[in-house]
Amino acid sequence: MQAKEVIARRVAQEFHEGYVVNLGIGLPTLVPRYLPAGMHITLQSENGFLGLAPLEGEPLPGVVNAGGQPCGLMPGAAMFDSAMSFALIRGGHVDVTVLGGLQVDEEGNLANWMVPGKMVPGMGGAMDLVTGARKVIVAMEHCTKEGEPRILDRCTLPLTAKGRVAMVVTELAVFRITHGEFVLIEHAPGVSVEDVRARTKARFAVSDELKAINLG
C-alpha cells in the first residue's frame, strides 16, 4: 500500500457521521474515499460553500473547489460569501480540518505555508483553518524527499499556527497531541517504535495502548 493510501485510510477513521470537514489540497482530498459506506460528512470549502461533491458530468458555472477546479454539489449544499465562510472556519463550526504539513513540532505547532527564499505562496485560508477548526489533523509523509524528519522539537519554518495540531498521521505512525504532550499512539504494520524514533526529531511519549494502524 502506498504511503498516501495508508495516511488517507487512517485519517478517515477520525471522521464521524454528520461531521463538517475541510480538506486541504493534495493528499487530504483522498480521505473521503476511505469512509465507511453510509457515513455522511459535509465538505466545507473556503471559497464559500458547504456540500462539495465529486464532479459528475459537465462542470457547472461557479461550482468550483478552493483550488478553482470544477466540482459537484451535494443535495442540501449551501453557498455563502467569504466572510461567512471564515465565520464558519474560525468560529469552530468545522469539526475537522486535514492539511498537509512541512513541519510539525512537539508543541503542536504547524509550518506549512512558506519556505523563506524558496516558496512564498501565501497562507490562503490555512492559518484560519488551523486556528479555528475543532480538530486539526496533519496528514503528511513522515520525512522529506531528502529523508529529513518533518516532525521536530521546534519548527524552523515560519508557523501557520501555534499549538493547534491535535493529530499527526504519517505512513509510519500516528501521534496525538494533548495538553502539550506528543504521544505515539499507532504505528504502521511492521514499523517499530525505534524505527519511528529514528525518523522523528521530536520527543514523544509512547501510549500504553500503542497498536498497529488498522488498515482494514
Partner: protein, 220 residues
Amino acid sequence: MALDKQVDWSDVGPLFRDGISVMFGGFMGVGTPDGLVSVLRERGTKNLTLIGNDTAAPETGVGPLISDGHVSKVVVSHIGTNPVTGKKMIAGELDVDLVPQGTLAERIRCGGAGLGGVLTPTGVGTVVEEGKAKMVVDGKTFLVELPLRADVAILKAKRADRAGNLVYERAARNFNPIMALAADLVIAEVDEIVEIGEIDPDHVMTPAALVDKIVLTRRL
C-alpha cells in the same frame, strides 16, 4: 447531510434547563419562534437570560416569558415597547443590559465567528462606553466590544430542508442568521419542511451545518 434533524414538539422541552442563556431571533416579535417560546413557558423554566433585539410587547414575542417571571436577565437593544420589562427592571426583578442594536449584532457575530471582539465607534462619549477598553485607529476612537454567545438559540424560519438549511421570509430574517452561529444548541421553528435538495444552494440563508434541530410550527 443526510441526517434528518426534524424533531417532535415533545422532544423540544427536555432541551431547555433552568438558568440557560437563550438567544432568540426576531424584531418586535417578527421572526421570533412563538412555539419555542411557549415550550419555555410550559416547561416552567426559571432564571433564563434572554439575548435578542427587544422584549416586544407583553403578549408578543418573548414578552410572555418576561410577564410570567421566567427571565432573570435580558440583553437587548430596546425595552420601550414592553412596559412589563421596565416595571420589572425598576422593581429589581429583572436585570436589563441595554446594547446598541448594531453592537449587539456584531457581538453575536463575533461570538459565532471566533472573533475576540470588534472596534465600533457606536457609543463613544456615551454611557455605553463605561467600563470598556478604547482604541484609537487613524485618529478616531472606537470601543472594544466583546463577543456574546448563548447556550441555546431559538430561531424562526419560513422553510427548512430536513438537513436544516434555513430560508427566512422578508424582515423576519433580522437576528436569526447570526444567532445560528453563536449558540451551542440551535433550534429552528419552521413553517415548512422540504426534502433535502429542494432549496437552491444560493437561496440558503443559514446552512444546515449550524442547525441542530428543526421543528414544524404548531398550527393552533
